[in-house]
């Protein structure tokens, strides 16, 4: 089954007098349970593609399909509902809500989804343990390191078992050890829950870790290789 399908996507930004083609007739298919790395130099279009797949940005033309459902024609409210139910996000920075504790941040999406308090509390504790943050549940983001915060964000992204997780430079602010730990965690979750991961990065260590590598340049795919088996 195809988890993500992008067909002939175009997105152009105007910067001063210059037109920047962030996506240039780009098409891509990602199977359910796929583990994909998007790589490009800065400005290559990987974040724009990730945002288009996540319904955070609407392409100028082309189609985006998630699990057989076209999303680029949906309203803001419908896109919000789609993100809530099907997609988990991990951003490069500023991933957490500062006034909530680690556990509350993890519970946030489930609470908006309407998951009962007892159930979401148990899930949040378990997933925080899974990402190695047992004992830090009641800490607020300001009381945690960057790596710990990123792991809370991962926990939040995976806790409600979305079909798709989109991560934009998730290791950018992490040291190599924490970065490796995070990628191992992604791999475990991918294999354990068949969750589809699309990770945008220019970190060579991350690229080496991920089975399918898609290289982009100027909004186009220049290389799409299966590096190794998942």
């Amino acid at each position: 089954m195809t988890a993500v399908r992008c067909v002939d996507l175009c997105k152009t930004y105007i910067q001063g007098d210059t037109e920047i083609k962030a996506l240039d007739h780009l098409s891509i298919d990602v199977d359910a349970g796929g583990f994909v790395c998007l790589s490009s130099p800065s400005g290559g279009g990987k974040t724009t593609l990730l945002n288009a797949i996540g319904g955070l940005d609407i392409p100028d033309s082309g189609e985006v399909w998630i699990e057989g459902e076209r999303i680029d024609t949906k309203s803001k409210g419908q896109l919000a509902e789609l993100r809530l139910r099907k997609i988990g996000f991990v951003f490069q920075a500023y991933n957490l809500i500062p006034v909530l504790t680690a556990r509350e941040n993890v519970e946030f999406v489930m609470q908006v989804q309407g998951v009962p308090a007892a159930e979401r509390g148990e899930l949040a504790i378990n997933v925080l343990k899974e990402v190695g943050l047992a004992g830090l549940e009641d800490r607020r983001p300001a009381q945690m390191s960057g790596g710990q915060q990123q792991r809370v964000a991962v926990a939040r992204a995976v806790v409600s078992r979305p079909a798709l997780i989109l991560a934009d430079e998730p290791t950018a602010n992490l040291d190599s050890k924490t970065s490796d730990g995070l990628m191992d965690l992604f791999s475990e979750l991918n294999s354990a829950h068949n969750t589809t991961f699309i990770i945008a990065t220019h970190d060579q260590r991350v690229m080496a870790h991920i089975p399918r590598l898609i290289r982009m340049l100027d909004g186009r795919i220049v290389d799409d290789i299966q590096q190794h088996a998942p």
């Binding site: 993100r83 139910r85 996000f89 991933n95 999406v109």
Partner: protein
Amino acid sequence: MNTFKVLLMLAWRNLWRNHRRTIIMLSAISIGVWAMIFMTALTQGMVNEMIKDGISVLPGHVQVHHPDYRDDPNINNLITTPDTELSARFAAAGFKQWATRIKVPAVISSERESRGVTLLGIDPVRERDLNFIDYADIDGRFLEVADDKGIVIGRKLADTLDTEVGKRIVVMTQDPDNEIADRGFRVVGVFGAKIESLEETYIFAGKETIQTLLKVGDHVTEAVAIGDDYRNVEPVYAAVLALVDSSVVVNRWTDLNSYLGTMMTVMDGFVLIWVVVIFLALSFGLVNTLVMAVYERVREIGLMLALGMKPSSILGQIIIESMMLLVIGLAIGNVLAFASIAPLKSGIDISVVAKGMEMMGASSILYPQLRSEDVILANAVVLILGFFASLSPAWRASRYQPIEAITKAD
């Protein structure tokens, strides 16, 4: 429900994120609400006293007269229905208080001076507590029965006439045949009133004594009824109207003293304007606080939108935050207002400006009047206008594009 709970939690925590700003804003709202309620209570207290004093001079919430009496208050303009019959109807109607009386212009003379006055022929039992007389401040005694042969005059008039309790004065008026009707009375009492000018204007004699003097038999010039609330005279008005025929006219006190009637309406309007003006001053602070709160949290709002929170929930969160701020401010403001008004229940002595107050028809003691309607009005204005004031920043926050908001400060 879950979303509402998370919105409540986020709004509450965000409210206390910047303690200093929240406390400053809460102080402004509390003081504003206190000022709204306290000043309104003072204003209403003053107006209430003016109206009550004004009605006590009339006196009566609803009055019945001959159709020509108000233009020409002479004894020829009597109510044609006999007093006995009229009194029986009023007694059966179950009014809180009622009376019939003769009220005509007259001249009072002592051996030294003469003055024009209004002569009231009353049944003292029925009139008790109906008028402006301070019964605790009477030299001598007040009238005791309707055929009392004595007369009661005001202290200021007694000074002017250079007379006192026990001395005789002459009252001169006109009978229905346009003949002079005069009679000597012994002054049995000298009254004091909150408003000095009333002591000069009115004199009281027994109703039956005056009916005899004026040769009008069992007739009066005025019948009055009092209801429970001077602000709501319609039930009494309707009841009195049902008791009389078309040979008389029935007036509310607001018709008889249009100045006071208008003042009551104007003051109610003034209270609303006062409350709205204070709120407008407050609203600048409120909107500024919310705009700053939204501006500081752009990325956070973008994140929540990206995670699947609907724009309507973001709108709700900011409005809830605003409402929390207002409700806390209102609670503190109300408590402050009640706490500052309670010790003043026995009145504020403003005798230093008594002359000026008397010119306005008010007494020298100001009794703050805390009316539930005014408290509800102040609270409702703050909440309703506060809601509308917070809509703009809340709407702006809900319109952010998630990805633009997340990357805004990067």
